[in-house]
């Protein structure tokens, strides 16, 4: 089978902070093919969230050199909402609360905005609710939660589970998931991991899975594992690399 490239990051340099820009990504290169789950692991402060934020287009991050090709397009030609409509989903390490806006309203407007951008018909209220119910059930989330305000009053674990419900509803081509496993207990971790598998495991989809822990990788079995340290990918291997990290720690493996 011929591999189809979804994401190609080449020698990416990026800084954070407006007044006093600090270099964080220092020549990062990485490729993800269609059908692949690529795990990114690395020490705290290595630049994992920075990578996710740069891919999503978060204000405050500056790309100083390098390129990112996403589904055949120059990612940096697209505004953040256009990246989403093109198929990019960013799972937040810290999902944001939006008081006064319900999940249902937020996600319906978001989904229909994406569909409009792609030249598709909007979903009716009824069609949307049916879809939302199905995805909530997949993540074992009570539909009542989706009627509440976005992430307001949700526990850390509920927020992460809600992120996955959002991902299910929006049905992206490519997901960048930033520590989606943090703050989850064992049962929730399994539900979230299986959710990722059922939503994103497909020949035409890809995942960049940022995590610290093997326990998520036991459920979402990665095809490749890379270590990100000091703003670069320093090592790439198969699932066994994650197991070695778990046993020996970053210092030993990177030495």
């Amino acid at each position: 089978m011929e591999l189809k490239q979804m994401l190609k990051i080449t020698d990416l340099h990026a800084t954070v902070g407006e007044a006093d820009p600090k270099p964080i990504l220092k020549g990062l290169s990485l490729e993800v093919q269609a059908g692949e789950v690529h795990a990114i692991m690395g020490p705290n402060g290595a630049g994992k969230s920075t990578l996710a934020n740069v891919l999503g287009g978060k204000p405050g991050y500056d790309v100083t050199s390098g390129s990112v090709e996403f589904m055949g397009q120059d990612l940096f030609d697209l505004d953040p909402h256009e990246r989403a409509a093109t198929g990019l989903f960013l799972g937040f390490q810290y999902p944001v609360e939006i008081p006064g806006v319900s999940n249902v309203q937020f996600l319906r407007e978001a989904l229909n905005a994406q569909r409009k951008f792609r030249g598709e018909e909007p979903l009716s209220g009824g069609e949307f609710l049916k879809l939302a119910k199905e995805k909530a059930a997949l993540l074992k989330m009570d539909m009542e939660m989706l009627k509440r305000q976005v992430n307001v009053g949700f526990s850390g674990g509920e927020k992460k589970r809600a992120e996955m419900v959002q991902m299910g509803i929006l049905d992206p081509k490519f997901a960048v998931l930033d520590e989606t496993d943090s703050g989850l207990d064992i049962d929730a971790l399994r539900i979230v991991g299986e959710g990722i598998n059922s939503i994103m495991r497909a020949p035409d989809k890809g995942v960049l899975l940022i995590t610290h822990y093997q326990r998520l990788l036991d459920v979402v079995k990665p095809d490749k594992v890379s270590i990100l340290a000091d703003g670069r990918i320093v090592q790439t291997g198969g699932p066994e690399l994650a197991l070695r990290l778990e046993d020996e720690g970053y210092d030993a493996v990177m030495a």
Binding site: G56, G57, K58, P59, D79, P80, H81, R83, A84, A85, F89, L90, F92, P95, V96, E97, I98, P99, G100, V101, Q105, F106, L107, E109, A110, L111, A113, Q114, F117, Q166, L170
Partner: protein, 251 residues
């Protein structure tokens, strides 16, 4: 209650943030008309209005609410020139005054609500919620005066103001003024002014909402507080739409 014999100036407390040039353009005749509304004892009267247009506009309402009555006023102020809605309300025993107001818009217009709530008898309550959303060099003001008579015990009066400034040149002012002669009284007031939540905007963009759509949703959530007590859905939609359509003219 005094009739104005000369035009107000900035030295008059209730006009200190007014656009005095606009007031002069209106002249005495343009600001001297009062609408009187009487709410009989035990009854409820609701007034919903969209105020403001291309020219300066001053609307003045005087209400008296009989014992156990309830007066409700909900307003969206979205004109392109000086717009002032002034309400004087006198509450009987156990009466209630509910006010929900939104000022919204850009340009250089001043949009203001000025209320005087007189708790003349015991046990009356009042609740006022104002939300101001501005850009350009526009200003939104809420001057809320509460007067509690000496024997008006168990008065409960609340005012809540929040301003949302979409651009640095805009401003929002809340001036609560209390004149309390009774001792068993609850008067609460809160005022905050802020900007759109950047983290929320990026989160919404990451889910596919354009900056305009994200802004509209956030503003809708922000101003919604002013109309939560408005039970008639159709009126609420109208007031919200009058406010939100103002955003469409903004780049």
């Amino acid at each position: 209650m005094t009739q104005i014999a000369t035009l107000p100036t900035r030295r008059d407390e209730a006009w200190r943030y007014a656009d005095i040039d606009a007031v002069e353009r209106l002249g005495l005749a343009g600001i001297s008309e009062w609408q009187d509304i009487a709410v009989p004892a035990g009854e409820t009267k609701r007034t919903c209005m969209v105020v403001g247009g291309d020219a300066p506009e001053v609307t003045r309402i005087r209400m008296s609410v009989g014992d156990g009555g309830r007066a409700e006023v909900f307003a969206t102020s979205a004109g392109d020139d000086y717009t002032r809605l002034e309400i004087e309300v006198t509450l009987g025993k156990g009466a209630h005054f509910e006010f929900g107001g939104v000022t919204i818009g850009g340009g250089d217009a001043t949009r203001e609500f000025v209320t005087q709530t007189v708790h003349a008898q015991p046990d009356a309550t009042s609740n006022q919620i104002v939300r101001s959303v501005h850009w350009g060099t526009a200003a939104g003001n809420f001057l809320g005066e509460i007067k509690v008579a000496r024997h008006a015990q168990k008065t409960d009066a609340a005012q809540d103001f929040k301003g949302l400034l979409l651009e640095a040149g805009a401003s929002a002012n809340a001036v609560p003024q209390l004149e309390i002669f009774a001792d068993d009284v609850k008067c609460a007031h809160g005022a905050t002014v802020g900007q759109l939540d950047e983290a929320a905007r990026f989160y919404m963009a990451a889910r596919g909402l354009s900056p305009e759509m994200a802004r509209r949703l956030l503003v809708q959530a922000f101003i919604g507080d002013a109309f939560v007590e408005l039970e008639d859905e159709e009126s609420r939609e109208k007031l919200l739409e009058a406010a939100l359509s103002k955003l469409e003219g903004k780049l």
